[in-house]
Symmetry: C2
């Protein structure tokens, strides 16, 4: 197959936050570090390394500051998630390169997620932007349930654009449109992205797609078609908001990289190393993960056979 | 969301063949019938009900003739798979409405699948077409490994077109392009479909997409964009060629229907009944299936909540 122009796609790895947060048990810090190191070796250049949230609410990430003190800093932007000003302070004190602020597009989900209305979260926003600016660090504004809310159903697009506007006015470097609960389909992706680009043509945006209904990869492909070039993905396809019933994981990083590279895009990532990291993760978690390429191997039969053999030996 | 013109999409259900064939254990005929009845209640109008293959090679389908004698015939086209003339005779004798002949695009896979070279399979083809014509039944020609071969890797497109030509010359009513091992990506789908439609503009075609590498739904969406309107899918996402290492299932019927209906297409199928059937199937098989909508429920939170509750109660 002839390669097209190798358009660059930026992958932001979220397994260390979205995945480790949603795992029932606390994953020991040294195991988290092992996976993070493997991700860096595979070429990951930006990572949602952890979240600075209440250790009572999410004990799985209670080691956030310790972990940030231990992660290799060279060559990777660490952009942890922060739900409020206190989280932002802790994250910046621990050496975060960038912050991800998240607010839901609906009160119902925001209340479930951070126990505040959207309005209350927005009141905190200016002080977070001010603090980050003082420290010279950029802020990404993430909009949860942008394509549908598990409590409310359809989300008025205006709620999404109002939040985006608040982020952009605050100085956000990028807006993440999150399909937190896998309620998007390609038509909805094209509709929202089209209008978003229309309203905010200068604002870089990224997509964060969950696979609760099996449609996430089609959504990513639809977004590619209208020029999207930044995506959140998670090694092995782990992840899932703890405040969403029967949440399903993010798009598996290695599956996304397989598809994009085969289509002629340049992710800058090493598929074989990602598969290795995903298998290591599976071993640490002791459970089969949703990722498919980690089970079937790359496309080249000589390479795939090697992986299949290795797997059979494990079984 | 405004509905576009409700373009019809034809779903051909393959779980009873592709799924039951690949399950390690023989599923009792009455359980197969139970699932088939639920599929018919959900609106399925065409089904790969079974395969007429050697019971030694595939004991899981040794009840093919019995099953065909018991399935409800009204309102559904039963199109079992046949690998050779003997299978075609048995299928027609058992009341098949249509036959699906399958030949691989590569010798390596055809030898593994039916112990014959492509040339040897083609020699049988004319007698199968003749027999079906005598009985007044149409024949679908399926091309396995059309997008990549797990033994050989890339498949020269000409091998696919040569097979298609043989089918069309024989009088096939439709050609199925099968990504038997999940080696397609959207670029490959667009390339092959574009040239196929160019060469055979009058021939209806269908896509049979496996999800070994997590890309099948994106492939389906890509195909939709160039006018594809027929797909093979399998309830719960079961399936997988027994001659493919670490095969993964077909696209789950209910996930495909969820996406298509949300996008404004008309599948004529009842999503809620499909979810019910998929959960029944999961119970019969005693194993979590790949389908996602059966776990997360439909998009409407009131309906989804009902499903989530029902599921939690089961756990």
């Amino acid at each position: 197959m002839e390669l097209k122009s190798r358009k660059k796609i930026h992958i932001r790895e979220v397994a260390p936050r979205d995945g480790f947060q949603s795992w029932p048990n606390f994953i020991p810090t040294d195991k988290k570090l092992e996976i993070i190191r493997l991700l860096l070796e595979a070429g990951i250049t930006e990572m949602e390394t952890t979240a600075f949230v209440s250790p009572n609410a999410i004990p799985q990430l209670r080691d956030a500051a310790d972990l940030m003190g231990l992660v290799p800093k060279d060559g990777c932007i660490h952009s942890p998630l922060v739900p409020n000003l206190k989280g932002a302070e802790l994250a910046l004190d621990s050496g975060a390169d960038k912050l991800v602020v998240v607010i839901s597009a609906t009160d119902a989900h925001n209340l479930a997620n951070v126990h505040r209305t959207v309005k209350e979260s927005l009141e905190d926003l200016q002080s977070i932007f001010r603090l980050a600016k003082e420290r010279g660090k950029p802020v990404i504004g993430a909009i949860a349930v942008a394509f549908g809310c598990p409590y409310q159903g359809d989300v008025p697009e205006d709620s999404v654009y109002r939040l985006a506007e608040a982020y952009i006015n605050g100085g956000a470097s990028c807006v993440i449109l999150a399909d937190t609960t896998g309620m998007a389909t390609p038509t909805r992706i094209l509709q929202l992205l089209g209008e978003f680009k229309n309203r905010f043509p200068q604002t870089p945006y990224s997509l964060h797609l969950h696979n609760n209904r099996g449609v996430a990869m089609a959504n990513l492909y639809a977004a590619l078609g209208v020029g999207a070039d930044m995506f959140d993905t998670a090694l092995g396809g782990i992840g899932g908001c703890p405040n969403v019933p029967v949440a399903a994981g993010n798009l598996p990083t290695e599956d996304v990289v397989f598809m994009l590279e085969d289509m002629g895009y340049d992710t800058g990532l090493d598929l074989i190393k990602l598969i290795g990291a995903a298998r290591d993760l599976e071993e640490i978690l002791g459970q089969t993960l949703p990722g498919q390429v980690m089970k079937s191997g790359p496309r080249d039969p000589r390479l795939a056979a090697k992986y299949v053999v290795a797997r059979n030996r494990e079984c």
